[in-house]
């Protein structure tokens, strides 16, 4: 087949394809497309901005929403957990009363509750009110939520006992059950044995000629 015949064939094939593809849509096709678009406008108007945005924007917005919800839930749960932990470590009772130490005449003072000091921001100290004959009141400032939960342990039993002893010693002419400390015994004479130093005898090293 020559080039000219080829070209003729191409032209014929091209025109055949053109006539094959010259199909016209129905007369009301454009009208139906317009009606469809009008429907889209009506239904899309209810969707608002969401309906007009592309899928990429929708994904971004959806992702941001999900991330926000997860963050809020995480913060809420963390805060709740911290509050529970603090409540478990530090019980809500913030005032302890120690029985009064006996006074000299055998009476005991009426316990008077010491109101807890108003909580200061960040105040975590324990306030002790001590007076002879008066009941020992340990008022603890309300401890706000703190970072170190162990500081909420206020006064141990041994410390309470020690405080009671100190209060008893401070009161004059007191007949206390607590034994007073014994005065240290004096050392009259200190005898130290003499230290004797023996001279070192040098011996010749083996094999060394004299």
């Amino acid at each position: 087949m020559t080039r000219r015949e080829d070209r003729v064939d191409d032209t014929a094939l091209g025109s055949e394809l053109e006539s094959l593809l010259s199909v016209e849509p129905s007369a009301d096709f454009q009208a139906r497309v317009r009606a469809r678009l009008a429907n889209e406008r009506v239904s899309g108007g209810g969707a608002g901005w969401w309906g007009r945005t592309g899928w990429q924007t929708r994904w971004q917005v959806a992702f941001a929403l999900v991330a926000g919800i997860v963050l809020v839930v995480a913060v809420f749960r963390l805060g709740h957990q911290t509050r529970e932990e603090q409540a478990r470590i530090a019980p809500p009772v913030r005032q302890q009363s120690i029985p009064p130490a006996p006074v000299a005449d055998g009476h005991t003072a009426t316990p008077q509750a010491v109101p807890p000091a108003p909580p200061a921001a960040g105040d975590r100290r324990t306030r002790l009110h001590l007076s002879a004959g008066a009941p020992i009141q340990v008022a603890v400032a309300a401890v706000p939520a703190t970072r170190d939960p162990f500081s909420d342990v206020l006064v141990s039993a041994r410390e309470v006992k020690a405080l009671r002893q100190i209060a008893a010693m401070l009161s004059p002419d007191e007949k206390s059950e607590v034994p007073r400390p014994v005065a240290p015994t004096e050392i009259s004479e200190l005898v130290i044995a003499p230290i004797t130093v023996a001279p070192i005898q040098l011996r010749p090293i083996e094999g060394e000629a004299e």
Partner: protein, 175 residues
């Protein structure tokens, strides 16, 4: 035909909805037949082709702010229609297979009743998709190489070589 309509200014970024509507109407008038023919070349069924072209325009309408450029719009609508027509063809085939029916619609269509036309369609169907698309677009509305390359977003040389290959294969099959 479409060369008569000038490219709309690309600076109209913040156009009001009415202006967009007017622009879309222009695009619809100039590209609806093209979209229909592209769909028909795949489906060989008038109603199906119209449905697919209609769906493609509905999609284009939603994204029209990004497709206001005339050439971009035509290329986009052609590719979208082609893809949607292929999807429809696959689902039609699945349905026919499921129902165990012989597809009678294409052969009953007056456009393929002619024996020669049936041969041509068969030859087109046998082409690989890339060649088929070039042949179809070159056969619609007398598009030249440049127009086909714009519609497919491929170099003009590629279009030329694909068209040559396609015609050679078709001639072999038709002879």
């Amino acid at each position: 035909m479409h060369e008569r309509i000038d490219r709309l200014p690309a600076t109209l970024v913040n156009a009001d909805p009415d202006e967009l509507e007017r622009e879309f109407e222009v695009r619809l008038v100039e590209s609806s037949t093209l979209a229909f023919r592209v769909a028909f070349s795949v489906l060989r069924h008038r109603e199906d082709a119209e449905d697919v072209a209609q769906d493609a325009f509905a999609k284009a309408y939603r994204s029209f702010r990004q497709l206001r450029d005339r050439e971009k719009f035509r290329a986009w609508i052609v590719r979208l229609t082609w893809r949607m027509a292929l999807d429809r063809q696959r689902s039609n085939r699945r349905r026919v297979t499921r129902e165990q029916l012989v597809a009678t619609e294409p052969t009953s269509n007056p456009h393929v009743a002619n024996a020669r036309a049936a041969q041509l369609w068969q030859a087109i169907d046998q082409l690989p998709e890339k060649l088929r698309m070039v042949v179809v677009l070159a056969g619609i509305e007398g598009h030249d190489m440049r127009e086909v390359s714009t519609l497919l977003d491929v170099p003009e040389g590629t279009v030329k070589s694909r068209l040559f290959q396609a015609r050679q294969q078709m001639k072999e099959w038709l002879s």
